[in-house]
Symmetry: C2
Subunit: 471 residues, 2 copies
């Protein structure tokens, strides 16, 4: 991606930014950084979206400090952009109008674990792996697993999910409450620790997925799950993507509480074989995992095996040994790197549509035909229990014609998903990259409602402006 | 409750209402009703909250008609109050400022069932029993079961739940998308049928639980569940409420996917014995249900039995025969009538606090002591897997001293729950009855955010005004 300094601003804006930077430097000393390298690291670096660095990066250590920063920025109408690990895929952390990036690196404490209540309270900079490391000896875990070791604050802001969502839900199902610094500098608690509530508007869900455009998350209360007594994992080849999708539908419909059910197309299997030294047959494949008691995972595995057989798939090899399981899921999580190795030097561009599961086979197979017709290299990976699948478009960004073809392909993919009552993004969020699809997906009344909410909570448009909706 | 005609309005308001009624009568003929009896039926009739009837009731048959009605009302600033079955418990359907009640009796069609996708699309007047009747032969069901056979539109508006919530979640977890007529008369679709999405602000969850104050729901897309292959139910006595609560905590923590786990205190058991001709020992009791395969429900039941024994409870009698199960759950669902039979002539006043489950035993036992000290008759029933419990305060409304004691008791109960990081309402909603607790529960910044959202989406304050937040 290209580096683009903030262009959408006037002389007055520049003076306002300088004043805020001076005030922040006086207050935060060397926790305020303006070097070019650090600024660029705090903007988009992972897609074909331009890198639009903030004017400065500050490292707050407490909610009160975030309030101070937001108040300073609000007084001068300078944008505020929250930053976790920088792994978002749609330009969510870019600063198209400049502004101050708040890096939550130093707010990474687990504040409380309530194992009896299956919840914990954490700061937004805690990453998912760090959290699970700290939870492990209490018999509980946090199930949401996007590819990257993202920060939980960023994961909540993006409403992300991952391979476990079919069983455990997405961030929307696993955030109980948030502490949020609003555009006016006030701190709002969205809810309490009670597991359910019917008390007023659902501010928690309004904030989850709002990508920092309505406020900055400074504390999260997360729902935890008990570590299952037994886990079995396995792989199952299918004669076609369609058969694999149909096996998925039957599995879900039969009420088998599958914990993970991931589709890899033949090309993705080949990439994983090459990169992770596996020897899987190069055909459409489901990777599965079952959680439960010993008896239950055995029963689930057997029932899935029967479904696979009925649909011409199999054999379904399953294992309960931890090392076998980790090897498999490591390969799945390394798919991004495997795809990059398929075509060294190319940029991996991730797509993210999600459709009703009954339309999944059709959507995937039409998309495969489109890939072939468009002459693109694009392995497919899907969280198919949810109807969500990704393509890694391996694009040579120096080849204008290929970039053009890839962009047109993405437009067709989104249109195809919307025509099937689907969404342009199952889990990556809107950021800058998907704003253009929202009108087609939601219609003008819903988009107008989103803008009205944005204006109501951020009348000066300083919270991560230029993302999700434009005022 | 007393009958109170709208008092908070001026001469101008009265003329506006008359104009709207005349226009509605011209447009809808005998589907517009202004008789006193019908108006009173469309206001609160089930608690000690006053009955505040609307000025007229209209029976729309389509989303477009709802748009017409809302536009007429908006032009004259006349309140719009959505009405399902009238079973809400906090005055949600009252018309303190007068206005037009929209009764969804005639919008009761199941529009589509997508069994493969485990979803359906319905009109808001469909009731939960009607829906399950229509779904049964397709192997799917809708799990949310408040006591009453409420309309699904009302259930979504109130964010209700019931006995199955511990396994299947509340309405917030089971509404995929809504069609909503906004205060400006536009129709908004909050989401599509894809099972997950990260596309923009979560308008679905904003509308669920907003009690008609942000818009009127005219269509719902609901998530369905597969009918379990096997079900077992049972009852288990415990030496104390505390032991029953601790058994609940251990059950949840052990990852037993219990479908229902309901606490009845000794008084509630006595009421059920008398009313439903049961012969249960009159001591604290858990009613349970397990869903799964034959092997899995047997395993779950046995594991629960072990937990109960460890805590001095039991014996745990469980049955898989449908007739035994229905008898049990019928008794549970008849608890309201059983409580009324305990003290004929008294009004049953339902409370609804919810606390983190680790605090549940303490909250219930302190509450029992308070009941005794306050000399009230109040059986306890709890959806204890969620930390949510109800008291049926059986109050003689003619006895001023008793009413006063009961009201003070409710204040203490709510304060107790809030002090334990709980909520004033787990599933009944805010309506008029709980508005006074929101500041203590949410704090001023969250309440200000709710008001800002209300103003943004309903600037004229015509959508069910005087509920949840006051502008």
């Amino acid at each position: 991606m290209a580096l683009v300094e903030a262009t959408e601003r006037t002389q007055r804006d520049r003076r306002a930014v300088d004043a805020v930077i001076a005030a922040l430097a006086a207050r935060f000393g060397n926790r305020l950084v303006t070097s070019q390298a650090v600024r660029e690291q705090h903007a988009n670096t992972v897609t074909w979206i331009d890198n639009q660095p903030p004017d400065a990066v500050v490292f707050p250590q407490a909610t009160e400090e975030v309030q101070e920063i937001v108040r300073l920025c609000a007084a001068k109408r300078v944008p505020v952009i929250a930053f976790g690990t920088g792994t978002s895929l749609e330009g969510q952390i870019n600063a198209p109008r400049g502004g101050i990036s708040l890096d939550f690196r130093d707010m990474n404490r687990v504040l409380a674990v309530h194992a009896e209540d299956l919840d914990c309270v954490i700061e937004p900079g805690v990453t998912r792996k760090q959290l699970n490391e700290q939870l492990r000896d209490q018999g509980v875990f946090f199930p949401i697993d996007p590819g990257a070791d993202a920060s939980l604050g960023g994961m909540a802001a993006t409403r992300c999910s991952g391979t476990n969502a079919v069983r455990y839900g997405t961030m929307k199902d696993n955030v109980l409450a948030l502490k949020v610094v609003l555009a006016n500098g006030e701190v709002m608690s969205t809810a309490r620790r009670a597991k359910k509530t019917a008390s007023g508007y659902d501010l928690t869900h309004l904030m989850v997925g709002s990508e920092g455009t309505l406020g900055v998350i400074t504390e999260l209360t997360l729902r935890l799950s008990g570590i299952p007594e037994a886990i079995s994992s396995g792989v199952c080849p299918f004669p076609s993507v369609e058969a694999a999708c149909n096996a998925t539908i039957l599995t879900i419909q039969s009420g088998i509480p599958v914990a993970r059910i991931e589709l890899l197309d033949a090309l993705q299997v080949r990439a994983c074989n090459l990169y992770s030294k596996l020897t899987l047959p190069e055909m459409p494949m489901l990777f599965l995992e079952f959680h439960g008691t010993e008896a239950s995972v055995a029963e689930q595995s057997e029932r899935f095996g029967e479904i696979a057989r009925e649909l011409g798939g199999g054999p379904f090899d399953w294992a309960t040994r931890a090392e076998d399981r980790s090897r498999l899921w490591q390969a799945r999580h390394d798919a991004y790197w495997a795809d990059r190795a398929l075509r060294p030097g190319a940029q991996a561009i991730a797509t993210d549509v999600c459709v009703p599961i009954s339309r999944l086979a059709e959507c995937v197979t039409e998309t495969q035909r489109d890939i072939a017709a468009t002459r693109l290299l694009a392995p497919i990976l899907g969280h198919v229990g949810d109807g969500n699948f990704h393509l890694s478009l391996m694009v040579d960004l120096a080849d204008d014609d290929e970039v053009k073809r890839a962009k047109a392909f993405v437009e067709r993919l989104v249109a195809r998903a919307l025509a099937m009552d689907g969404t342009c993004t199952g889990e990556h969020g809107v950021g800058q990259g998907k704003m253009k699809y929202l009108l087609a997906e939601h219609g003008e009344p819903a988009l107008a409602a989103m803008r009205a909410i944005k204006r109501a909570l951020d009348p000066l448009d300083i919270m991560n402006p230029g993302k999700i909706v434009s005022l």
